[in-house]
Symmetry: C2
């Protein structure tokens, strides 16, 4: 199966479970909680959960669909809360929750998704022991994601963030949830600690690469295509790898810390392209994926293992 077909299949299954579980929304808070969840999204984290499970134990993924949804719920909760903190207005082509409702409802909507994630994780068909390990791993990831978001925001007040600091932030903010996705898939499918560790590490590294690509998309992709505010990282002064590498080349991006027109954005891209920053940053992401894909060679040969490698490559080639 091609990756595209596989992702479509996962999205269909996840969307159907969302519809069955959240379809009867009667309260305003229910509607706010499901607003972003039903607005689309590529369901990449659920796909990593399911591919990891099947790479360990073929056919096990259908038993753990609720766990796959759990990861999507955590991802969506972090989006809802981050949008408040970063004051983003658009996401997945729709107004963000706190924009459509208000900040208190945005906070609560995220908190509801957070709770539901742990409820759904418990519904997976797997041993109780595996599920407790999965709950622990997910909770640990959540705490780290918060630390990552906090670091990311603290960077906005600085202009001397190092590459190591950026990678630490990206690991926490984005890597940990992909690590948990792959690790939880492996654990629930009955993988050995060694297999679970390798898949966890694979998720961690590809997750960091995913974040780097996200930074590129924020700059390079139009709002129409990405469904979110364009160049919001520049506006907020986020110390992305792009920003750091530009600084190393003597380019100061801080003068773009404001709402930018399309012409402004084209100007920035052209400056960065000229000195090779865009290509450099792309290479950093690709190198990470190549490295982490090698970890997968410790798993038995299977179509799902190859699809996991494909998903890694997709993370750093996607344009939205």
């Amino acid at each position: 199966m091609e990756l595209e077909q596989y992702l479509e299949m996962v999205a269909t299954q996840i969307d159907s479970l969302i519809d069955r579980s959240f379809g009867n929304t009667w309260s305003d808070l229910d509607r706010a909680s499901t607003h972003l969840l039903v607005a689309g999204g590529k369901r990449l984290r659920p796909a990593v959960v399911m591919l990891s499970a099947d790479a360990i134990n073929h056919g096990s993924s259908s038993d753990i669909l609720p766990a796959a949804l759990s990861l999507e719920l955590i991802h969506t909760f972090t989006l809802v809360h981050d949008d408040i903190m970063d004051d983003d207005t658009m996401r997945r082509g729709v107004p963000t929750v706190h924009t459509k409702w208000d900040i208190p409802t945005g906070i609560l909507a995220g908190d509801v998704l957070y709770a539901r994630a742990f409820e759904f994780l418990c519904l997976a068909m797997a041993s109780e022991k595996a599920k407790i390990r999965a709950v622990s791993m997910l909770a640990r990831a959540c705490a780290e994601i918060c630390a990552g978001q906090h670091l990311d925001m603290s960077f906005e007040k600085r202009d001397d963030v190092t590459e190591d600091e950026y990678f630490e932030m990206a690991k926490k903010k984005t890597g940990m949830l992909y690590a948990a996705a792959a690790g939880i898939g492996a654990i629930l499918a009955g993988g050995t600690p060694y297999q679970a560790k390798n898949l966890y590490q694979f998720g961690l590294n590809t997750g960091i690469a995913f974040q780097i690509q996200d930074d590129l998309i924020d700059l390079l992709t139009s709002s129409e295509k990405s469904g979110k505010d364009r160049a919001s990282d520049l506006r907020d002064g986020k110390q992305t790898l792009i920003w750091i590498r530009a600084r190393e080349k003597g380019i100061d991006l801080s003068k773009y810390k404001r709402d930018l027109s399309d012409a402004d954005i084209e100007e920035v891209i052209s400056i960065l392209d000229k000195v090779g920053v865009i290509a450099d940053v792309k290479k950093a992401a690709t190198d990470l994926v190549n490295e982490s894909n090698r970890l997968l060679n410790t798993l038995p040969q299977s179509p799902e293992r190859e699809l996991l490698k494909d998903i890694g490559k997709f993370f750093v080639t996607r344009s939205f």
Copy 2:
């Protein structure tokens, strides 16, 4: 043992576990997360977890101390987020998290506590099966708490909230976490479904009574003693049982929807006292506790069962 001694013992154990687990706080977010947690609090929910466990299986509470802490962590997370939504400035005698830091840090600090709660629940010494049931129950409670807080806020825009609606809100906002505390204690101690159900119901009703008493304290107790903003419910126009019963007696409290001086507050109390509203509301709370304490008679006779009854009575007699 007297209840007071018991509560002191639980608080010492919980505080010590907090100190061991959160003592080494190095990041700013860690400090924000633990700010309210270490500022005191009576640790009543942990006490309910531990008493329920011991009422089922004497001596089992020491195995599940992390689960008792888990309930305190969830409680604290809800305080941190509620303080943002209600814009309260003082809590447990210290500035609220978003006041001392900022709103983004307040959101994240709550989110970190939320995660830690599930981590700690997994650390309890109990069967994996019991722990998964406990995780489910806690997650379910969290979603309901959010719904309760949302209802509570939506009431601020109305002046026709009925008693039934108030009780529904109090059940979700406060009852569900006490229900989970008692239910989780019973489940982790190996209680039968019947025992767990009765303890859950006990927690639910005493929790509602706790909320009614909290409304009274908000009005009657000085800030110095309660450690939080006085009469913030009136200021925010919260439709408490006091407000609803006053309305039934023809008293419109909406003119007190503003920052109130001590003299204003004394005036309100005197008006409400004269028509018997304060006594009425106190009776509603006491009746609830008496009723729910009767549920405990289905448990075997034990000192802990009696302490659970005492805690119910304490909920509706405490003055802060």
